[in-house]
Chain length 391, copies 2
C-alpha cells in the first residue's frame, strides 16, 4: 500500500554524506594522525578562566545577536573597508549556518550558483541540497564568467586563503569579481573565515567592499581565531537582505548561544587579545613551515603545491605519473592511521578522480607531521605501483 | 532588464514575520509588562559558578552531540518508557532547530502536515516556509483524523502542556493518536519541551513510546529546565531517520555548542539538580496560582480559560460579547505597556480573528501580573466598547 511507503522530501535524494563523516569512527583512534579536518590547534584557544557567567546572559536573546557584539563587529569591519551599520549584522551559530540561511534565501531547484572549482565542500553540500545548478568558475578565467549568459543567481566565493586551495585573490581580481557580480546582477556571497590567519602580506579587502549595490553577503567566523566549540560566526549584508535572513535565522534556531556571544565579546574587547592573536598566527606560521619542510622531504617526487599565504591547508596536486582516485587512497592510508581529505568532494561535479588532496597543518605536531607525511608519500607510491600492476 | 531584478527563492514569499519580532523594539521598554513570550524566570537558572572550562571542549565536536550527553539522554528517556540507544539521539541547538531539520527531511511543496489548531506558531512558520499543506486536527475529534483520506505525510503534535492551550493529552488519547499515525503511515513528530514543568499529576508518557515502527521523532529542550541562552535541545527518532537528520544537522551548523553540552551534562549529573528542578517547578506552580488569581479578578467577565496542568501559558478565549481581533488589541495594549501573544498566529490558517490569546505567567512578578492583567481587562472592555460605537 502506498501509505506504508515512507516518503521523504525530494531534496533528501541529494543529501550526500561528507567523506569525513563516514570515517569519523576511524578518526577517533588515538594513534590516528589526521590532516583531514580543518581543526585549529587547541593550544591557541583563549583562556576563559575569569569568565563570570551573568545569569541574564542565559535568557532568550535577540535573533540578530546581542547589540554590543553587533556594534563591535560593525566597527571592526570598517577597518577592512566594509562600512556598515550594526543593523546589518546577523550573529550566526557558526558560519556553516550562514550557508544554510543564504541557501534558503536564494536557492530554488535549478537556481544557478557560480562556485569556484574546487570550493568549500560543505557549501556545495548545502547548495546541492536546495537544488542548485552549479556554474563553476575560476579566478584565473574571470573573462569566461564575465562573458557567460546564465541567469544571474548567486556567486559563492572564498577569496582569502581559499578552502581548499589556499589561494588569496589579488586586489584587481577582487575588484573585477565585484564588478562582474554587480554588472550581471548576481548576489555575491563572500565566505571569509580565514582572513585573520595571514602569514604573508596580501590583499584581504573584502570583495563585498567593492560591491556597491543591494545584493551582497559577507560572512566570517570566530572558529579559527577563538574556538570552534563556541559555534559562533556572523554575516553582514546589503540592507534589504537582512530582514529576510533574520527571519530565516529565527526559524532555524531562534538565536545564537548567548554564552558564546558574551565570551567572544569579552575576548574581543580584552586588551590582551591582540597579543593572543599575534601568537596564534605565529604558531600557525611555524607549523606551516614545518609542514612544508616535511612535504618537501616526503612528497616532492609525487606532488606539487604552493605553500599558502594564510589559512589552515596545503592543497596537493599529484603528478601525472600518479593518477590516483584519492578517495581510494584514503581507504588505504586509514589502515596506516593517516587521514587526509580527498580532493573530489571539493568539486561541484565530483564523480571523476581529480588527483588532488587537502592537508590540514594546524592540528598535528612536528612528530606527527613527519611520520604522517612519510607514510602518505609511501602510500601514494605503493598505491600507484599496485594500480600499475593491476592494469 | 531581468538580470537586474533580484530574484529570491520562491519559499521567501511564504516567510512571514512573527508577531513578536515585529514588536521587539517596543518590548524592550523597561516599563513594559510582557506576557507575550515564553520566557522562563531568570531566578530558576542554574548557577555555573563552579564551571571549569576544559579547553578540549572548545574544539570541533561530533555532529550528533557529545557521547556522554547522548548516553545520558537515552538513559533518562527509558524512565519515560521511551527505550532507545544513544545512537538514536541527536543533540540540537535548541528544539527550534529540530523543527527546521524535520521540515527539511519531510516537507516538499504540498506535503500534508497534520497540525493541531491552534499549535506552536514557530512550527507553523517553518512548515509553511517549506511549502506544507496543513491538515488541522483536534484531539477532541480524533475520529475525523482516523477517517480522513489525505496522503500520509507528517503529524506534528505538542501533547504535554500544549503551546498555546496548555492541554495535556490523556493516556488513551496518546495511544489512539499513535495508532492512527502507525495505521495511516504518518511520520509522528512529537514536540515535548514542557514535560518537566508539571503542576498536577497527569499522563506524560511520550506518544512516540506507543508508536512501534519506523517513523517517529520525539524532541525536547533544555531551555525551560536549564536556560534558553544555552540553545540546547535534543531529538530521538526511529533508527532509519537518524542518519538523514544528522547529515541535515551537519549542513545546518556542523554541531551544537560544546560549552552548553558540557554545562548541561554537568547539571544533569549533579546530585543537587533534582532539588533545583523541584524548586523550579514550585516557583512556577506559585506563579500559576497568582496569575490565575489576578485573571479571576480582572478578566473573568470577558474571557474563559482553564488553569494549565503544566507549562508556561494560560490560553484565554474571549467571550462572544467581545469579538476582538487580538492583533488589533495588541497594538492598543502596547501603548499601555502590556504585551501578550495574539491567538491568530497559532492557527494554520490565521487570517480570521479568533478571539483568543496566549498569556505567559513565568516571567512577570506579582506586582506586574496584577497591574498588567488589570490593564488588559480594561483594554478589552474599552476596545470592545469602541468597536461597538464605530459599528
Amino acid at each position: 500500500v502506498t501509505k506504508n511507503k515512507l516518503k521523504l522530501a525530494s531534496r533528501i535524494s541529494r543529501l550526500k554524506a561528507s567523506p569525513i563523516r563516514d570515517i569519523l569512527k576511524v578518526l577517533e583512534r588515538p594513534e590516528m594522525i589526521s590532516f583531514a579536518g580543518g581543526l585549529p590547534a587547541v593550544e591557541t584557544f583563549p583562556d576563559f578562566a575569569n569568565f563570570n557567567s551573568l545569569k541574564q546572559t542565559l535568557q532568550y536573546g535577540p535573533t540578530e545577536g546581542d547589540e554590543p557584539l553587533r556594534q563591535l563587529i560593525a566597527e571592526r569591519l570598517a577597518d577592512q573597508n566594509l562600512h556598515i551599520s550594526p543593523q546589518q549584522v546577523l550573529v550566526l551559530s557558526g558560519s556553516q549556518q550562514g550557508i544554510d540561511l543564504v541557501a534558503k534565501l536564494m536557492i530554488d531547484s535549478g537556481t544557478v550558483v557560480a562556485v569556484e572549482n574546487p570550493t568549500y565542500l560543505a557549501a556545495l553540500q548545502v547548495f546541492n541540497l536546495f537544488g542548485a545548478a552549479f556554474e563553476p568558475f575560476s579566478v584565473a578565467q574571470l573573462d569566461n564568467l564575465a562573458a557567460d549568459d546564465h541567469p544571474p543567481g548567486m556567486l559563492y566565493v572564498n577569496p582569502t586563503f581559499h578552502n581548499p586551495t589556499g589561494y588569496c585573490y589579488t586586489e584587481s581580481e577582487r575588484q573585477r569579481l565585484a564588478k562582474i557580480c554587480v554588472d550581471k546582477g548576481k548576489v555575491l556571497f563572500e565566505d571569509d573565515p580565514y582572513r585573520d590567519l595571514a602569514y604573508s602580506e596580501t590583499c584581504r579587502t573584502p570583495i563585498c567592499s567593492y560591491a556597491e549595490g543591494d545584493r551582497w553577503i559577507y560572512q566570517s567566523s570566530f572558529s579559527k581565531t577563538f574556538a570552534p566549540g563556541l559555534r559562533l560566526g556572523y554575516l553582514v549584508c546589503s540592507e534589504q537582505l537582512l530582514p529576510y535572513l533574520a527571519r530565516l535565522k529565527q526559524a532555524a534556531d531562534l538565536h545564537s548561544n548567548r554564552l558564546s556571544q558574551q565570551l567572544v565579546y569579552q575576548q574581543l574587547t580584552d586588551p590582551a587579545n591582540e597579543r593572543r592573536l599575534h601568537k596564534l598566527v605565529e604558531t600557525y606560521r611555524i607549523k606551516r613551515e614545518l609542514f612544508n619542510h616535511y612535504l618537501e622531504r616526503h612528497l616532492s617526487d609525487v606532488a606539487e603545491w604552493e605553500a599558502p599565504d594564510g589559512g589552515l591547508f596545503f592543497w596537493l596536486r599529484l603528478k601525472s605519473e600518479y593518477p590516483i582516485d584519492t578517495r581510494e587512497l584514503l581507504a588505504h592510508t586509514l589502515d596506516l592511521n593517516v587521514a587526509f581529505m580527498p580532493g573530489e568532494a571539493f568539486f561541484a561535479n565530483n564523480e571523476a578522480a581529480v588527483g588532488q588532496l587537502r592537508l590540514n597543518f594546524s592540528l598535528t605536531n612536528e612528530r606527527q607531521m613527519a611520520h604522517g607525511l612519510a607514510t602518505l608519500g609511501t602510500a601514494i607510491r605503493s598505491f600507484s605501483k599496485r594500480n600499475a600492476e593491476v592494469a
